[in-house]
C-alpha cells in the first residue's frame, strides 16, 4: 500500500482535542494489554498510579520534589531552544552546577548558612553557565553542530564526577565505599511548607523567565535569532554575543537545578546527581511549548507519571523494567500524537486523486 505524509493546514481546537484524547486512550489501552500480560488488572494499576502520585500530602510532596528539577531545567532549555540552539547538554550543565556548588559546600562548611547557600547558588549558576558557554562559543565562532557538542560534554561532566567520587573526593570515612562526604547542615537547603526551598526558587524563576523571554529586549532578540538569522542581522542583533549570552543563561539555570539537587535531595555530590533529569526535561520543555507557565503544568504531570510508576512497583511487585515500560508507552503515544497535529497520512488512491486534482 502506498502512503505519504502531508503537512496539515492549521487544525481546529476540536480536532486537536480529538487527537490528544485518542492518544491517551491508545496509550492506556496498549499499556493495559501489557499489564494484563503481567497478570494484573490494568484499571487497578492506573488508579494506583494516580493514588501514588496524588493520594496523600506525602505523595503530593514527593511528586513536587520530582517536578522541581524538571521545571527549572526546562526553563533553562527553553532559552536555548527558543533560539533554535539545540542544547542537549542540560544533563552536563546540571552536573557541573552541582560540582561548583559542592566545591563550596565541602570546603567552606563553617561559613554562615545563608551566606554559604547563596554562594552555592551563585556557584551552581556559574558552573552550569560556563559549561554551556563552551559549545556556544564553538557554534558562534565556527558553526559546529551544537547537538553533538552539548551531548558529548554530558559524558565529560559525568566522568569528571565519577573520577572525583572514586578518587580525590572519596570519603575517607566510608571504609572504602566510593562516595563523596555528606554536606554539613549548613550547606543543605531548608524545607519550606513540607518541601525543600527548591520549589520557591523554581516559581521565582518561572516569573523571571516569563518576563525575560516575553518582555525584555534580550528575550526578543533571542526569539528573533531563532526565527531567522538574517532578520536578526538586519535588526542589528549581535549574533555572537546573543548566542553566548543565552547559552550562559540556559546552562546557568540548569546549573542551579544541579545545586538544588545536590544540596536538598542528595545532601552531597554523586554521579547520580542529575540521573537523567537533564534529558527528561527536554521532553517537558517541548511539551510545555517552551513557555514558562506551561512548563510548570507539564512538569508536574510528568512527575506524577514518574512517581506513580514508582508507586506501583512496590504496591503490586511490578519489576522496575516493567514499570518503566508502562511509563514509556504512555509517553510514546502522547509525544507521538503531536506529529499528527501537524501531518496527516494519505493512502495510495486518495493520494493519486489528490495529485491529479492538483495537476488539473
Amino acid at each position: 500500500m502506498q502512503f505519504r505524509l502531508v503537512k496539515k493546514p492549521e487544525i481546529t481546537q476540536r480536532q486537536y482535542t480529538v487527537i490528544i484524547l485518542t492518544a491517551i486512550a491508545l496509550a492506556l489501552l496498549t499499556s493495559g494489554l501489557f499489564i494484563l500480560l503481567l497478570g494484573l488488572n490494568p484499571i487497578q494499576v492506573y488508579l494506583a498510579m494516580l493514588n501514588g502520585a496524588f493520594g496523600s500530602t506525602y505523595r503530593l510532596e514527593q511528586t513536587i520534589i520530582v517536578a522541581i528539577p524538571l521545571v527549572i531545567i526546562s526553563l533553562g532549555i527553553a532559552v536555548a531552544f527558543k533560539m533554535k540552539f539545540w542544547n542537549i547538554g542540560a544533563e552536563g550543565q546540571v552536573i557541573m552546577g552541582a560540582f561548583f556548588a559542592s566545591y563550596l559546600a565541602l570546603n567552606y562548611q563553617d561559613a554562615p548558612k545563608p551566606l554559604l547557600l547563596l554562594g552555592m547558588l551563585a556557584a551552581g549558576f556559574l558552573g552550569g553557565g560556563l559549561w554551556g558557554l563552551i559549545p556556544a562559543f564553538f557554534k558562534a565562532r565556527w558553526g559546529t553542530n551544537e547537538t553533538i557538542v552539548t551531548l558529548m560534554m554530558n559524558y565529560i561532566a559525568l566522568k569528571w564526577i565519577t573520577y572525583l567520587q572514586y578518587g580525590p573526593w572519596k570519603d575517607p570515612n566510608s571504609m572504602g565505599f566510593p562516595k563523596i562526604p555528606n554536606f554539613t547542615a549548613n550547606a543543605i537547603l531548608p524545607n519550606f511548607l513540607g518541601v525543600h526551598l527548591g520549589w520557591v526558587i523554581a516559581l521565582i524563576l518561572v516569573v523571571i523567565m516569563y518576563f525575560f523571554m516575553n518582555h525584555s529586549k534580550k528575550g526578543f532578540e533571542i526569539a528573533v535569532l531563532g526565527e531567522s538569522l538574517n532578520t536578526a542581522r538586519y535588526a542589528g542583533v549581535n549574533i555572537f554575543r546573543t548566542i553566548l549570552f543565552s547559552m550562559f543563561i540556559s546552562g546557568g539555570i540548569c546549573g542551579l537545578a544541579g545545586m538544588i539537587q545536590a544540596s536538598a535531595v542528595g545532601n552531597t555530590l554523586s554521579v547520580e546527581v542529575a540521573g537523567g533529569v537533564g534529558y527528561t526535561a527536554i521532553i517537558t520543555a517541548w511539551l510545555g511549548a517552551l513557555k514558562a507557565p506551561w512548563i510548570v503544568l507539564v512538569s508536574v504531570l510528568f512527575a506524577a507519571l514518574v512517581q506513580g510508576s514508582s508507586y506501583i512497583q512496590s504496591a503490586f511487585g511490578i519489576s522496575a523494567a516493567s514499570a518503566s515500560l508502562i511509563q514509556a508507552m504512555i509517553l510514546f503515544f502522547v509525544l507521538g500524537s503531536d506529529f499528527f497535529t501537524k501531518y496527516k497520512v494519505v493512502f495510495g488512491s486518495e493520494f493519486l486523486t489528490r495529485g491529479k486534482e492538483a495537476r488539473e
Binding site: P178, G266, A289
Partner: protein, 364 residues
C-alpha cells in the same frame, strides 16, 4: 497557545475524574491496615540469581511463615534515591524495613532518625541507633570452605576473584577464600579484579574473562550475578559462585558457592517486632546459626574435596578452626596476626589489608 491550554485542561480533567473514582476504589496497597507490612529494599532485581535472589527467598519465606504482607523495590541505587524508596514504603504502611546493601547505610541512618516508630534493619553495615539495627553473616566461613575446593581443583596455581568494592566486607571474603585455598595448595595465588559495581552482569563477566586471559583456571566472585560463572563455563574452566546455588547458570563450571539463608533470621526479627521485644543489635551470625552455608558440591568439584570440606566445616562448627587465626601475614610479609591469637571481630569489620598470596591492591 489556546490549543495547548485545551489539551492540558483535558488531561487535567480526565485525571481528576480518575482520581475521583480512585477514592471510591482504593488500591490494594491501602487495604489491610491491621496486617503487619514489611518492606525490602533491593540493590538488584530478584532475578539476579545471586544476592538479591537470596534476600527475596528470605522475603518469601517470611511471608509464608508469618503471614505478613511484604513489599519490595528492586534495583535501588545506593544514593539519595534509596531514602525516597524507604519513605515511600513507610507511606505505604511498612513498619519494618530490611535494607539490603552496604551503600544504603548513611541513608538508612538519616531516614531512621525521621521515623522513630519504624524498625530499620540494614544488611552488612556497622551503624545503628535505637530503631536501626544491622545484620550480616560470617560468610567468611563458607568462603574458606569454598577456597579448599578451589585450591584442590586448580592446576595452574592461579585463581581469579572478581570483586565488587574494596570495602572490608569484600576484602575479608577474599582473605578467607585465599586462606582456604592455601590450606590445601600453599603456593597458589588469588588474583583480584575490581569492578566497582555490585550488579552488572556484563562488567562482571568481562572482569572474569580478563582474569582467565591472565591464566587463572578457577573463577571465584564477590558479585551479585552469575556473570563470572558464565565466563568460566565458556572458557571450559571452573568456578566458585556466591550468594545462592548457581549450578543452573554454569553447569559445567560451577563447583560450589558460599550461600545465604536469610529466611529464618527475617522471621525471628519480624516476630520480635510484632511481640514488642525487638531491640537494635549488630547481628553477625555464622554457619552454626544457619544464616550462611556452603552449597552442595557438584560433580565438577575435585575428588576428595567433599571430605576435606566436611572436616573443615566440622572443625569450624566445633570452634576448633578459626578462619582468621594466626599466624597471618599481609602481602608484604608483615605479620598482622601472631601465632596463637585470632583476629578480633572489630579488626575483621575494618579489614583493609590482603593476606599473603593475594595479588591485588586496596584503595585505588
Amino acid at each position: 497557545m489556546k490549543r495547548i491550554l485545551t489539551v492540558l485542561l483535558v488531561i487535567l480533567l480526565s485525571l481528576t475524574l480518575v482520581v475521583g473514582c480512585a477514592q471510591k476504589a482504593p488500591a490494594p496497597a491501602d487495604e489491610g491496615k491491621e496486617k503487619m507490612k514489611v518492606g525490602f529494599v533491593y540493590i538488584g532485581p530478584p532475578g539476579d540469581g545471586g544476592w538479591t535472589y537470596a534476600h527475596d527467598q528470605g522475603r518469601k519465606y517470611l511471608e509464608q511463615e508469618l503471614g505478613v504482607e511484604t513489599i519490595y523495590k528492586e534495583s535501588v541505587p545506593e544514593d539519595q534515591q534509596s531514602e525516597k524508596v524507604m519513605r515511600d514504603m513507610i507511606d505505604q504502611g511498612a513498619k519494618v524495613l530490611f535494607v539490603t546493601s552496604f551503600g544504603y547505610m548513611d541513608h538508612v541512618e538519616k531516614v531512621a532518625k525521621e521515623y522513630p516508630d519504624i524498625t530499620f534493619m540494614h544488611c552488612s553495615g556497622f551503624k545503628s541507633a535505637e530503631n536501626f539495627g544491622n545484620y550480616f553473616g560470617r560468610i567468611e566461613e563458607p568462603r574458606y570452605l569454598s577456597g579448599i575446593v578451589a585450591g584442590m581443583k586448580s592446576e595452574s596455581g592461579k585463581i581469579g576473584y572478581v570483586a565488587a568494592f574494596d570495602i572490608p566486607e569484600v576484602v575479608r571474603g577474599i582473605n578467607a577464600f585465599t586462606l582456604g585455598v592455601q590450606s590445601v595448595n600453599p603456593d597458589a595465588v588469588v588474583k583480584v579484579k575490581w569492578t566497582n559495581t555490585w550488579y552488572d552482569p556484563a562488567k562482571e563477566k568481562e572482569a572474569a574473562i580478563t582474569l582467565l586471559d591472565e591464566g587463572v583456571d578457577i573463577i571465584a566472585q564477590h558479585q551479585d550475578t552469575a556473570g563470572p560463572q558464565v565466563a568460566a563455563e565458556e572458557r571450559g574452566k571452573f568456578s566458585v559462585g556466591y550468594n545462592s546455588d548457581m549450578a543452573a547458570m554454569a553447569p559445567k563450571a560451577y563447583m560450589t558457592a558460599p550461600v545465604w539463608n536469610w529466611g529464618p533470621y527475617y522471621v525471628q526479627q519480624v516476630k520480635a517486632v510484632m511481640d514488642g521485644t525487638w531491640k537494635a543489635e549488630a547481628y553477625w551470625g555464622g554457619m552454626k546459626d544457619g544464616i550462611v552455608d556452603l552449597a552442595p558440591l557438584t560433580a565438577n568439584a575435585p575428588e576428595g574435596a567433599k571430605e576435606a570440606v566436611e572436616k573443615a566445616k566440622a572443625d569450624i562448627l566445633a570452634g576448633k578452626l578459626n578462619v582468621f587465626a594466626g599466624p597471618l601475614k599481609d602481602q608484604n610479609g608483615k605479620e598482622m596476626v601472631p601465632a596463637g591469637s585470632v583476629l578480633s571481630d572489630q579488626d575483621q569489620l575494618e579489614m583493609k589489608w590482603f593476606v599473603e598470596g593475594v595479588e591485588g591492591k586496596i584503595g585505588q
